[in-house]
């Protein structure tokens, strides 16, 4: 029993230390705003992190939009309310699935890549030699990735939502034959700019921040060995996914509140 308690204590301490190091890293990297010369580094990361994730976001978005439309349509058709497919689809995507699924895909595609890249740089002493050249890796390597992820994630969410709605249109209207007029006007009348789109984007921003932070830190802090890197990459995906889902619950509670 004592053994178990001590173990839990040690793990908690280790975790807190990690959190401390992660906070230090984040603060030191973002403390000074990017200079003009850093812009090209950030643009390059937006490409690596954002643009290279476009294919998976588009494919998944389309599939999810299509399948939601399919489910809604079959359920709503029983009440003769097929036109409400558009509203349901938009609300579910903008408020929940858009930011959450994008963040999960983002963690798997971009997060793991960031961790592996920085981890490899550390393992092969590239970060170390950079330091010895008088170049701070926190500014040169870490900061552009933090910014790149922060910028990319909301844009990817917008893309995901757009494509998913298109997927819903293809299935709901073109295939199953819902009325386009009802579909679009329902959506336009119900969806609110801040309440639905805005709050969803707040989620996207928060998820982007957290997932990139985890990914960069795991790479930067990994043990410089092959196993260490593997472990760090796994940790990025697992931690990001769990945190995204947990945070989504609390953000929904916080922002939409008053459920009881």
């Amino acid at each position: 029993m004592e053994h178990v308690l001590r173990r839990i204590g040690a793990e908690t301490l280790r975790w807190l230390q990690g959190l401390g190091r992660a906070t230090m890293m984040w603060a030191m990297a973002v403390a000074r705003l990017p200079r003009w010369s850093d812009v090209s580094l950030i643009v390059r990361q937006v490409y690596n992190i954002g643009v290279l994730s476009v294919v998976i976001i588009v494919l998944s978005g389309f599939a999810i939009g299509a399948v939601i439309a399919l489910q809604f349509y079959t359920q709503l058709a029983r009440f003769g309310a097929e036109d409400a497919v558009g509203v349901g689809l938009a609300l579910v995507l903008l408020r929940e699935l858009g930011p959450v699924v994008t963040a999960l895909l983002f963690a798997g595609r971009a997060g793991s890549a960031i961790t592996a890249e920085i981890g490899l740089m550390k393992t092969t002493e590239q970060l170390s030699i950079m330091e010895m050249m008088g170049v701070d890796p926190l500014r040169r390597i870490v900061a552009p990735r933090l910014w790149g992820g922060f910028i990319s994630m909301p844009l990817l969410t917008v893309l995901f939502n757009t494509v998913a709605i298109y997927g819903g249109v293809v299935v709901g209207i073109h295939w199953l034959g819902a009325d386009p007029g009802g579909f679009w006007s329902g959506m336009q009348n119900t969806v609110e700019l801040w309440q639905d789109l805005g709050k969803g984007m707040v989620k996207a921003v928060v998820f982007g921040l957290v997932v990139t932070w985890i990914a960069v830190f795991q790479g930067y802090d990994c043990e410089p060995t092959a196993e260490g890197m593997g472990l760090a990459t796994t940790r990025t995906v697992v931690m990001s996914s769990v945190l995204v889902l947990a945070m989504d619950f609390f953000l929904t509670l916080l922002m939409y509140g008053d459920f009881r």
Partner: protein, 290 residues
């Protein structure tokens, strides 16, 4: 205890701290009473040494005595547990992060692994320090990079990616990168490993030329006794976290300490153990707990 040769070499630092700053004019690096533990192992045990300005100084010693660690301490990457490291008269351990990064601009370092940036090609690797630390126009950078690559015989490899290079060539590119900004101090960690006899000669000449033409100070870590003796002006032999002998290379061969002469002549038997501390071999082979 330090077994020094000349009368003017460092003792084990008996109360001479007051005059340390006055002496820094002659010495580029001064290490005073350095202690460092890594895990359970004592790496430096009250180590003191001084590296003169403008010469080629070599640090030798058995594997695992902390030669690489010493270079990292000088570069401010590893903080010692106690003691002081003066670089140009300034204590590296007391510098702020930004001061440290500033000071490192004047240091070139060649790592034991080549540590090339794997996402950019050979040319960009050598150009990297120039691009981040200077505002030189593009064609000047191009000329400088080509000259540096030419000096290590790899001008033709400038468009290759680091992964396409052999180990020895990658280290020569890393060498070109280390000297890219003509630093005041270059620290070489095992520059000769993995080099064929021809490139070995090229590197030796290069180090000497940098030293003579530009007045660069060099701190060289190496196992290759023959090359080191040829090129170094002054040698420190480390073992067990201390300097066990120092002096001009020729003099070290006839050093009074058996431990130093064993190392300088490369005898396997002697007071310096070749093996990592372990049980008797016979015992290890016969024991059954696998």
């Amino acid at each position: 205890m330090t077994e020094s040769l000349g009368p003017d070499t460092v003792g084990s630092g008996a109360g001479s701290t007051g005059s340390v700053n006055a002496q820094t004019a002659d010495y580029l690096i001064e290490i005073d009473d350095l202690c460092l533990m890594r895990g359970e192992k004592v790496v430096f045990d009250h180590l003191s040494l001084k590296v003169p300005r403008g010469g080629i100084t070599a640090v030798m010693g058995p594997s695992g005595t902390g030669k690489t660690t010493l270079l990292r301490v000088i570069g401010g990457q590893v903080r010692p547990d106690s003691g002081a490291v003066y670089l140009n008269g300034k204590d590296v351990c007391r510098m702020s992060r930004s001061e440290l990064f500033e000071a490192r601009r004047d240091i070139g370092m060649l790592f034991q692994s080549s540590a090339l940036f794997t996402d950019i090609n050979v040319f960009e690797n050598v150009a990297f320090p120039m691009r981040v630390h200077t505002d030189l126009p593009e064609d000047t950078i191009r000329d400088l990079v080509i000259m540096k690559l030419n000096a290590v015989g790899l001008r033709g490899a400038r468009d290759l990616m680091p992964s396409q290079l052999s180990g020895g060539r990658a280290r020569r590119v890393a060498l070109a990168r280390a000297i890219a900004l003509d630093p005041d101090l270059i620290m070489y960690d095992e520059p000769f490993t993995g080099q064929d006899p021809i490139s070995m000669g090229v590197i030796l000449t290069l180090i000497r030329q940098l030293n003579e033409a530009l007045g660069t100070s060099s701190l060289l870590v190496s196992h290759d006794i023959h090359e080191t003796v040829n090129i170094a002006d002054y040698v420190f032999v480390l073992a067990d976290g201390k300097v066990i002998g120092e002096g001009p290379p020729k003099a070290l061969r006839d050093h009074p300490s058996r431990r130093v002469t064993q190392f300088m002549r490369g005898d396997p038997d002697g007071p310096v153990p070749f093996h990592y501390p372990a049980d008797d071999l016979k015992y290890d082979l016969l024991s059954e707990d696998v």
